[in-house]
Each structure stands twice: as structure tokens, then as C-alpha cells.
Symmetry: C2
Subunit: 421 residues, 2 copies
């Protein structure tokens, strides 16, 4: 996951040759996190001499990563207005790809976060199997690369995200119960589909909820949030944590595996082989089981999930008692698990993603009440619950942001490693 | 909680006057974490010139915090053996105080971790109430201060730890269900008991399991552990987490509140007012309820807890089926909750403290099995379970270490703020 500002400063810089790339990245991160700033402000922020700042800004401008923006005048300031430096990077992008149980999606974001490509394809992934699914992924990524390149935008990296364990070292999915996958290589077979003649940027593989958490964090970091818990409802239940502005990974990158907490008082069987997992209370499967019968059209995996859920939302709006009862069940289970996680991780903000976002008007208030009631030390401050900023695109957006992160650490090296247009 | 090495380097040093205190602390932390080192090795470690190192070491030696130790010769090295610098600090100490449901304890550790004072008093704290309990705390701390001072050891700080929420800003306990305390001021009434004529070092208040985690982390950090989950069995169940060598606090310092996770399949009432909390499965009360009847001598709060539990351990050893059945219940509940927390925090090591340590020979193996079985991605490495290094003294030791931490950040200022002998 991306490092946040400050992380780079942890290791004291002792090797002279590493100072300049580090400082180029430092300036990019400042502009991303704090918005446009004058060279003088950048010098004050970083403690670097103004002449050094000017030289670094020129180098970043030559790479197309920053530009001189509108004149900036401090409030009540007199004298010559100062030109602000701002992120540009419209010539580079990161690509995020999501493999989910019932769709594959891809997005490309440029350095300013502007969407330059977006596509989603309904797909019954467990039925398609790994090879069939990677065909779909191959088609979507080929389209993303072709379209961005032909628009003069250079892909710097690609992140494949899936609902399960991912091994970055081998480029494979270790366990994705809801896809029916175990130890499935992804990066190598995907590269093979392109052939040697199509130059590809670096490809990484990650857990979907972890990269979605990146997107949710970036969306609220500007408002000063540093401690975030993200919980998302898909077929499974996933999540992620930021603590003090840093993603929480754990010792081996497999932290925040929340879906199988044994908190269902009923011994409901889980696809993972155990009973009573949280997923059996609040996963999308549990919601559909509560709300619908087996022949219901909203259960058809070949129809886009968002449209199927919109139908369920319409039923709730129209007062359908079965749908409303199902939502009450989900809200109760969600409150139970989220309150536990708030006691464990102590975030200042909980963001609910996936289908929880689509039904936020039914889920938010009971979950907030569960947190408020259960918190052991309410005197030390409230923990607020909000719906996802990006709804179903958190994972692809986070994947694209994750793919762009290296440019914020080492701009020159990262651009050098990606194929030219 | 103490910052670990590296934390201080996060903020780039720009203010010249802050560099020297920072570097004095940096050298002390190196010696604490890596053991005795030559000046040359310290220069290489820190990137500081050797002349600066010599001047800093001289200043630390004048403060009595380091000394020149035995000659050190690298393996196969030739030439003059180098004098190693090592932590000294036998003239300063930190004091840790623990208020528990059935005892009050205090310890004083010098800078090398040597115990220079230790005392424990059985006390029925819920019956004594806050004022009566603070009388006991006052007697113990007075003894600790008098004895260390008369031995020429200067107390630099004191940490009071209790099983519940602590508000460092007001010096009070916010909620301690098992003591029956809510919003009880501690630091001010304790200072009053000493009167204005007895100069006291700074006094801090913290959650007991959080400071115990400090002691457990320090005990294993030398072996390279950086990601630790600590779970302790007292009347309640507490815990703490280190991630990447940093204590996990959360947004408001109330993270790692594990005792009230709703994971008991049976709706057992908890002292907190809810049902099904983890504490109702594995707290000391649950163990005593499973293992004994109400008149049993091991339930007498006025007898030292360790001795009472030793009697239960003897019964288990002699094959008493009731005791063994109770331990099987505790092991099952402990495995259930610990596995959940391993999925959430992804530590490399789980340490079981409190009474779990005393019964480690019955609990460790089933808890290890529960983790191994439940872990979703076992291919990426095992998480080991171990008993506490310090058993019932983790909290007081961690409190004393926490009280000493400021000297590792700013040696001169910390010694200046503590009363002279």
C-alpha cells in the first residue's frame, strides 16, 4: 500500500545520491496532500533552500508531473502575487483492476485523480474459472492500455485486486473463497495474454479491501482524518485500517481479515467451511437469502450487481416488509461486528463500502447507534460512521492510486521503469 | 506509551537547538535496543561524526546514564580492542504501580531494567473503594520513593495502571468495571496524600494492559519481534498490540479493548451490562465459576491471587476432572477470541499474560491449534503463541519502563524535571 507523507522521512537520508529522488517525491506528496503551493511555501514546508526547490520543481515540470498554476495571493497580502505550483501529471496514469465474484472492473486515473478510463463487465467468476476470468481481465486491461496510450497517457503501473489473500511475491491469489480460487497465478498468465511484443507497466496483486481502503483514506485525509476503519459488504466482508495516516498491514500483510469473525449467535454454515462467521450475518449472500427467494431476478449473477441491488432498494423504498426485515437483520449484524472492531482499532471514522453504501439510508443510523451504545469510554469522543465516498469503485480507484504511488516516492525511476508511448 | 527507535526520526530535525537532546536520546535507545557498542559502531549506526559521538557519550556518562564497559573485539579483528559504551543509569529509576481488582503492586526499575524495589499487597479494591485503595497506593509509592532515594536512586517518573479506561489529561480512571470505578481522579488525590513537602516525579495514568504490552514487547524485541499481540486474563480481559515496532494506540488511545467482543455463543451476563462478552468466557471470574463452588477457598479475594491459582493448578496436576473441564472451556473460548484477533491484527507472536500464563501448560497448545486451524492464509507463515515473560509483573514492569521512556527521548530535560535526591 502507498506510504503516506512522513513515512519516507523515517529512514534518515545518509546516502547523498538518494537525496534528490527523495526530495522530488517529497514535493509531489506535499502538492497531493495539501494542494497547490508557492515555491516559497514549499521551501518553508520542507526546510529545503528555495534555490533547491526551484531546481526540483523545474525537473518535475519537465517530467510533466507539476505545472505553474494560477497566481496565489495570501489573505490580506500585499505585493506581487506568487505563482502556485500544482500537480499536473495528465500524461501519466495508474490502472486499477478488480476481480469480484460477479464482475470484473478497471479504471485508469491520472496523477490528479481524474478518471481517464473506466469499464465494468458482469461476469460469473466462479463459473468462468481462473482461465476464463483472466481472459476477461486481459480484454479490459488491453482496452485500458490501448485507450490511454492513444490519448497520450502513459500507464505507470497496474494493480489487480481480488477478494482474498494475495501473494505479491508470486503474483498469485492464495485463497479467495467466494471466487472458488486457491493458489491461482494471475500476473504471469495475464502477461502471457499480451505477448512479448506489448510492453506492459509493472503489475502488482493485492487484496481488494486493502486497496479500497487506500481510496477511502485519500478521500478523507484532506479533512484531517488519520484513523480510519473501512468495512465493505460484497459476497464476503472485507476491510482495512489506517492508523495515524499509515495503512495497517500486520506482520505479513494479511491483517484486517474481518469476514470470518465468529460472532453469529446462530451456527450458520460459511463458504469457508466454518460456522457462525460474520459474513454469514452481513455478506451479500446473507442479505439476498433474507430478502429474496431462489428464483428472484435480483439473484441473477449475469445482471449487473448495482442494478440488481437498485431493484431491492426500490422494494425497500416502497415499504416491502420482507426487504425491510432483511435490512434490519443486516443492520443488527453490522452493528455487532463494527462495534467490536471500533473497540479493537479505535478509529475516528468508520466507512461502510460495497452494498452497505447502496443501503446506507437503512444501515447507517442503526450501526451508529450500536457503536455509541457499545463504546466503553464514550467520554473520550465519538466515532462517526459514513458511507463510502466511491461506492463500488473504491477498489479500482484504490488500485489505480496504489499503482501511482511509486511516482510519489521516486518520480524519475518510476517513469523510467514504465514503457514509453 | 514509549516511542520505539525510528519514531523520533519521523519528524525531520530543522530546529538546531533540538538536535543535541535528540541525539543524546538516539544513542541511549541504540544502547538499550542493541546492547553495548563501541563509539565507532555508534558513529556508523547513527551517521554522526565520531567526535560528536565522543562528546555526546561524555555528556551521558556525566549524567550517569552510560559507562565505558568491557573491551570489545570484533570476531577475527586485529589491533587495539575497542572500549564498548553501555547503558548504566543505576542512579535513576522508573516506578510502575498497578491497581487490580484484588491487589495493588509497585516496582521500580533502573535504566538497565534491574529491579530496585518490588512490593505487592492483596486488596479487595471494589470493597475498599477509591479512597481506601488510594491509601494503599499512597503507602506503596511512599515506600518505593523512600527506599530508592535512600539507596541513592532518583525516581524519574511514576505510572499508575488500572484495568479500564484512563484519561491521561485529567489523571483519572474513566471506566473500570471490575473495580466498580467510573470517573475516579487518581493523580491529584495521590499527590495530596504526599503533601507539598515531598517532591514527587511526574505521575502518569494508563490502561494496565497497554503498559503490560510495553514490558512484553521489550522482552521479545531483542529477538527481532516487531508485531505482537498481548492478551491478558485478569478479572477482565485486556490486551495490546505492537505493529512494526510501534504501540498501536488508535485515534484516542482506547484501542485494544478486547474483553467485550460479543463472541460467547451463550448469552451470559457480563459485569459491563451486556451479554455474551469474551470476558464471560475467559475472564478469571468465568474460570473460577467453572472450576469451583462459591465457598471454595480459592475464591477468597483477601488471599494473594497467585497463591489461590497455584492451588487450582495443583488440582489440575492431580487430575481433578472439574478443574480440567474448566480449563478446557477456557482454552476453547481463548482460542476463539485469539484467532479472531490474529485475523484482524496479523501479529507474528501472541503472548498470553495474567492467569493464562500460570495455566500455560493447559492453554497454549489448544490456542495454538485454534490459530493454526482458523488462519485464512496459512501459506504465508505461522503465528506463534507464548506465555508472558513476566507473568503477573508485566503491568508494573511496563509501567516502570513507560515512566523511564522520556529519558530515552530527552535525557537532560527529563533528569532536570525530576526532584533531586
Amino acid at each position: 500500500m502507498p506510504k503516506q507523507p512522513g513515512a519516507a522521512a523515517r529512514t534518515p537520508v545518509t546516502d547523498r545520491s538518494s537525496i534528490r529522488p527523495g526530495n522530488l517525491g517529497l514535493i509531489l506528496r506535499r502538492l497531493r496532500d495539501d494542494g497547490p503551493r508557492s515555491r516559497t511555501a514549499l521551501a518553508a514546508d520542507t526546510g529545503l533552500p528555495k534555490a533547491t526547490i526551484s531546481s526540483l520543481v523545474t525537473e518535475l515540470a519537465d517530467l510533466g508531473l507539476v505545472r505553474e498554476g494560477d497566481p496565489q495571493r495570501g489573505e490580506g497580502a500585499v505585493g506581487r502575487p506568487r505563482l502556485a505550483v500544482e500537480l499536473d501529471g495528465r500524461g501519466v496514469c495508474g490502472i486499477g483492476v478488480e476481480i469480484n465474484a460477479d464482475y470484473v472492473a478497471a479504471i485508469a486515473l491520472d496523477l490528479r485523480g481524474r478518471t481517464v478510463f473506466e469499464r465494468r463487465a458482469a461476469a460469473d467468476v466462479p463459473a468462468l474459472g481462473a482461465a476464463g476470468t483472466l481472459d476477461v481481465v486481459g480484454r479490459l486491461t488491453a482496452e485500458a492500455i490501448t485507450q490511454t496510450r492513444s490519448a497520450g497517457i502513459r500507464p505507470l503501473g497496474m494493480t489487480i485486486a481480488a477478494p482474498g489473500g494475495a501473494d505479491p511475491a508470486t503474483g498469485s491469489i492464495t485463497t479467495a473463497v467466494n471466487l472458488g480460487w486457491r493458489d491461482v497465478p494471475v500476473v504471469a498468465p495475464l502477461r502471457e495474454r499480451f505477448g512479448a511484443d506489448v510492453p506492459l507497466p509493472p503489475i502488482a496483486i493485492r487484496n481488494d479491501a486493502h486497496v479500497a481502503t487506500v481510496a477511502e483514506y485519500v478521500a478523507v485525509a484532506g479533512a484531517g482524518v488519520r484513523d480510519l476503519l473501512y468495512v465493505t459488504g460484497e459476497m464476503g466482508v472485507g476491510g482495512g485500517v489506517y492508523n495515524g495516516g499509515q495503512p495497517y498491514h500486520g506482520a505479513r500483510g494479511r491483517a484486517c481479515e474481518f469476514g470470518h469473525m465468529p460472532i453469529n449467535p446462530e451456527p450458520v454454515a460459511c463458504p469457508c467451511g466454518r460456522v457462525g462467521c460474520w459474513e454469514t450475518m452481513v455478506g451479500l449472500g446473507a442479505f439476498l437469502d433474507h430478502a429474496t427467494d431462489s428464483g428472484d431476478i435480483v439473484r441473477d449473477p449475469l445482471t449487473d450487481r448495482e442494478r440488481r441491488l437498485a431493484e431491492l432498494h426500490r422494494r425497500a423504498e416502497s415499504g416491502d416488509e420482507r426487504t425491510l426485515g432483511a435490512l434490519r437483520e443486516i443492520a443488527a449484524g453490522l452493528g455487532r461486528g463494527v462495534a467490536l472492531l471500533v473497540d479493537a482499532f479505535d478509529p475516528e471514522l468508520v466507512v461502510l463500502g460495497g452494498y452497505f453504501t447502496q443501503f446506507a439510508d437503512y444501515l447507517l443510523e442503526p450501526v451508529q447507534r450500536a457503536i455509541d451504545e457499545r463504546i466503553l469510554n464514550p467520554s473520550t469522543g465519538r466515532c462517526e460512521v459514513r458511507p463510502s465516498t466511491h461506492r463500488y469503485t473504491s477498489t479500482v480507484r484504490g488500485g489505480a492510486q496504489f499503482a501511482l504511488e511509486p511516482v510519489f516516492q521516486d518520480p524519475v525511476g518510476t517513469i523510467g521503469r514504465s514503457p514509453a508511448l
